[in-house]
Symmetry: C2
Subunit: 203 residues, 2 copies
């Protein structure tokens, strides 16, 4: 039962690049959301037709989930890599400015697909909505753990409540996604990032 991503050795070879197609699907979901993205939108952008899409990715829901996975693992992703920074301040600085840069980048849709992919949505999107909420919570928990580690190492004041601080930072980051869809420029988002950083508790 080798259900991996490796292509089978026998049979007609796939005529398109799954990764490229998934990237295109991600852009559609990012721009239009799960409910707003139709299969026609998707197949057109991906350059394939429906049977190919279903054979390769399952269905619309699974395609969305795979697109989200790609989103968080792409080179321009900013959240998890920022956690590797050596100090809490640098972690947050990288995170906030990475968000400002990425979310207003005009080479792809504005904002963050994890925030806006299925926020208010139909019942058909309930599964993907739950998956996105879980991703947002996981991110917040990972940030909290990183801040807690910093606090224990004396890198943050001992009286800081890292749960609240992580939730606050998640709130600002998620708000920046909305600002980006409002049309905020990278500079405007960076001003928000800087103001947030100015208030960040230092050792």
């Amino acid at each position: 039962m080798s259900t991996g991503t490796c292509p089978p050795s026998v049979g007609r070879p796939r005529a398109f690049d799954m990764e490229k197609a998934l990237e295109k699907a991600l852009e559609v979901f990012w721009k239009k959301g799960y409910d707003g993205a139709s299969l026609s939108d998707l197949t057109e952008a991906m350059g394939i037709n429906k049977p190919s899409l279903y054979a390769a990715f399952g269905n619309k829901e699974q395609l969305f989930l795979k697109a989200i996975e790609l989103y968080e693992n792409r080179p321009c992703a900013f959240f998890y890599p920022a956690l590797q920074q050596p100090t809490a301040y640098l972690v947050v600085e990288h995170m906030l400015f990475g968000a400002a840069t990425s979310m207003a980048d005009t080479s792809h849709p504005h904002g963050c697909v994890v925030v806006q992919g299925a926020l208010s949505c139909s019942e058909a999107a309930a599964t993907v909505k739950a998956a996105l909420i879980a991703r947002r919570r996981d991110g917040e928990l990972a940030l909290r753990a990183r801040l807690e580690q910093a606090r224990e190492q004396g890198d943050l004041p001992a009286d800081v409540d890292t749960t609240i601080l992580a939730r606050y930072l998640g709130t600002v980051l998620q708000g920046m996604a909305i600002q980006a869809t409002n049309g905020a420029t990278p500079e405007e988002l960076k001003q928000v990032a800087q103001l947030t950083l100015d208030n960040f508790p230092r050792r």
Copy 2:
């Protein structure tokens, strides 16, 4: 040309309360978003059938816009009333805690329909998306004007950039809407509000 909301004196009287029906429509749009809310969802919640909806409200798009208008004028709206507070600090305090209370209130859908009603959406929703963006920007501009007035009155430090501060506060408020759809409790949102307020520049 009296195209007001006053009912005509002749003809069969309307059998439903337009305001009540609009309130129900608002709840549906709030929960499901513009794309995710079907006319069946709407007519079922409103307790009327489609021709009545179209006769009374025009079409889905106009119904949405009227629902948004109702949303901002309802008694539990917190944004514009907060601007009436006598000091910048009190304005922001009322705004943040009003948001924390309202957005996690379980008597209606979580979050804010102006934020999440049409964030990522289909082309059919382009008009309402633009309308929501305009509302968010208007709110931010009104807050900026209030902060600027406070600054001129010496109620805020003279070196405060009210444009950036208003954008930052708008970002936090919009992020709180996302947190609310994540399932954050009123208490959790109030902790974010308090932390934001702790950093607010005082005279």
